[in-house]
Symmetry: C2
Subunit: 145 residues, 2 copies
Amino acid sequence: MPHNTTEINRQLRKSGYRVTPQRQLILDAVCQLGDHVTPEAVYDHVHRIAPTLSRATVYRVLHFLTEQRILAMVYMADGRLAYELAGPEPHHHLVCRSCDSLLELPHSVLRSFRRAMDTQYDFEIDVSHVSFFGHCTDCRDSAGA
Amino acid sequence: MPHNTTEINRQLRKSGYRVTPQRQLILDAVCQLGDHVTPEAVYDHVHRIAPTLSRATVYRVLHFLTEQRILAMVYMADGRLAYELAGPEPHHHLVCRSCDSLLELPHSVLRSFRRAMDTQYDFEIDVSHVSFFGHCTDCRDSAGA
DNA sequence: TGTCCTTCTGCGAAAATTCGCAATAACTAA
DNA sequence: TTAGTTATTGCGAATTTTCGCAGAAGGACA
């Protein structure tokens, strides 16, 4: 999934942040590595290109880009955190605890739920990304209990 | 929130697991410490009573009791993991990213959503506990963006 | 283009979490 | 009650993630 670098850079500068080679490398890495990328995978990838880029920077930049809504956090079945590019339209995941497969959900499935929380609890759900855990078609029968 | 020790112990033994003092101490600690307890808080608590009980055991037992559906994992606003006693009726949380407050949701709010995922995607959502992040009444106005 | 201000990075140490293995101790069955 | 089986613990090391601070460098402005 490609990203509009020029647009993102402009957005960052406008907010008073800086565009650094490290941030660009890390963002590129997440895009190239795919759908649910772990910090360690990002580090391995960028470290080959820029050997002095430190682990701390990887973690900091991933957090930072998430705050800027350029990336989104994804919880994996094992409870660990991964990241992916946050598209213009949010989407969500059904994560199978048995086979670790990811099923993408369109944002629309959460719309009415979100509206309900808004009116009933006056709580505004951040829907940049939500993961639900459970069992997929293939695993739900075999997984007893 | 108290727990029915006898019943839990019987359930564990029936499944071939053992009831150890460590497991009982850690379960007691989660109950006494309240709604969203971090591993570190559990360790501090049990360490006063049983100084040799190790951190590794705390983590392992928390995982174990979660697998047994005796505890439930709770994601905090900062992305860290906490635990709480899993009651007979699941409940869910609205977590405010600004003030870290927790709002409890009855299980019923997810019922129709769950049914929809089941029929539309043949995916069975595990609803022992779900956290939604966003902004509560008090914070949603002050938090710009 | 050069200077200045402040954000970012890199480093090393600290903290949090997981792992492997040998020793301990819970439970089962006699 | 005792002995045997094997799940569980504790320890220390490894791994993952965060922190604090001094130095590097992005970008605004002249």
